[in-house]
Amino acid sequence: MLSRTEGIVLRSSVFGEADLIVTYLTTDYGLVKVFAKSPRKMKSRFGSSLEPFTYSKISFIGKEDANLPRLTQSDIITPFYALRDDYNSFVSLCEILELLMHFLPERDPNAGMFSLLHKLLSKIRPGEGNELYYLYCKVRFLGLAGYLPKLDACGRCSKQTLEGAGGRFYVSHGALICDACKTDGAAAITLSQSALRFYLSFMKWNFSNIDRVKAPAPLVSEIAGLIDAHIKYIMSRPLKTAAFNGGKGPLKR
């Protein structure tokens, strides 16, 4: 059966001599892995269309339940090549893609995730200064996958967080826990008042308005640190991409 859809390349892995397995996030089928014959040969008709972030119209052929359909066509709509040419944006985006691939089941269309990823690729510019976009998308993806950290109320008694009271985030609960409910011994991250207030307001913004958010860098990195600890706990390991230091200076050696 021939399937036609639009997709964004999340990952290309070498397979055999000159073939690739390409993981797409597609509009119609969600996460799809396809087999691409000989794209690494110089005269391949696939050209650069199988490189990460490329948004294209694709066709693949295979039985409904075949786990590896064969890619027959890929026509680039937007290459987003500037984002992979820049070390910084490349590494940061890889982190987002890794998160997506970890949480999204295969063949389960998710319009929200596709649209958010496409908006992210369209909006950001190569280089630094996109931290708020990455943070926003990470949190939104966690939410769509059902792993949103609970920061607006106590994870046990659901008592609303006092406006700007800060608190202690327990990674094993994925939630803030109030003083009355807290148990000793579990690992917790102290969250400052201002960081919590920033987070609760930040997540009410629309993606398209994020460039209007003014946030002091320390607050952003406080929240980013908490989100990364949360991700590490639910994945039972840090993101592989985390070893690249979030693209901040390539010289982590």
């Binding site: 001599e17 794209p39 690494r40 070390y87 890889c94 991409t241 690249f244 050696r253």
Partner: protein
């Protein structure tokens, strides 16, 4: 004749890349018809490559003597080092006969999403070679795809402080491809058209 031994050979041949069952059968019957001496030499070559092949401790090329023939050559230009991802890439560049310097094999390319970090590649070893002195130019001949580009950029940053010339092969190589599959002409042009980075 027992069908078992020929089946055994066919099964083993299908493990090679690009060899399907049909081709394996054809090869197996060809081997069967070979003079015993030739077949023995072929089998010995396979065993030799497994038992004697090792990585050159200088450039990480596959070799049977350490350092490898290229590293121990007295006629090659020791001032220029061509950095490639895999040992097979050296063969591709050597085929062009347009480069007579040294090599450095990274044994892979950086890939955040696969967890291939700089310490998993032979990057520190390259830095040590440059530090030791005598190298004026490093030519980045990693593959013209995203992983290869990221790797080239990373190494360029790492080597910047040493004040040597760093160039990147560019001309003629389509993005998304692998230099192992480039013909000699394409690769020669790519080497000639390298630019400083």
């Amino acid at each position: 004749m027992s069908q078992g031994i020929i089946d055994e050979l066919i099964n083993n041949l299908t493990k090679l890349p690009g060899i399907g069952r049909k081709t394996a059968q054809r090869l197996a019957f060809y081997i069967l018809s070979m003079p015993a001496e030739e077949a023995r030499a072929m089998a010995a070559a396979i065993i030799d490559v497994k038992e004697k092949a090792l990585f050159c401790s200088v450039c990480f090329n596959i070799t049977d003597s350490d350092p490898c023939d290229i590293c121990s050559s007295t006629t090659r230009d020791k001032g220029r080092v061509c950095v490639v991802e895999e040992p097979s890439n050296i063969l591709a560049v050597e085929r062009t006969r347009s480069f007579d310097g040294m090599y450095h094999v990274l044994l892979g390319a950086l890939s955040p999403i696969d967890g291939i970090t700089p310490d998993r590649l032979k990057i520190n070893e390259l830095v040590e070679r440059v530090k030791a002195g005598g190298i004026q130019e490093v030519i980045m001949a990693t593959n013209p795809n995203t992983k290869g580009e990221v790797t080239a950029r990373y190494i360029t940053e790492v080597l910047k402080p040493f004040g040597i010339t760093i160039s990147r092969i560019a001309y003629g190589l389509p993005i998304g491809s692998d230099i192992e599959f480039a013909d000699e002409v394409t690769l020669t042009k790519a080497l000639e058209g390298r630019r400083e980075v």
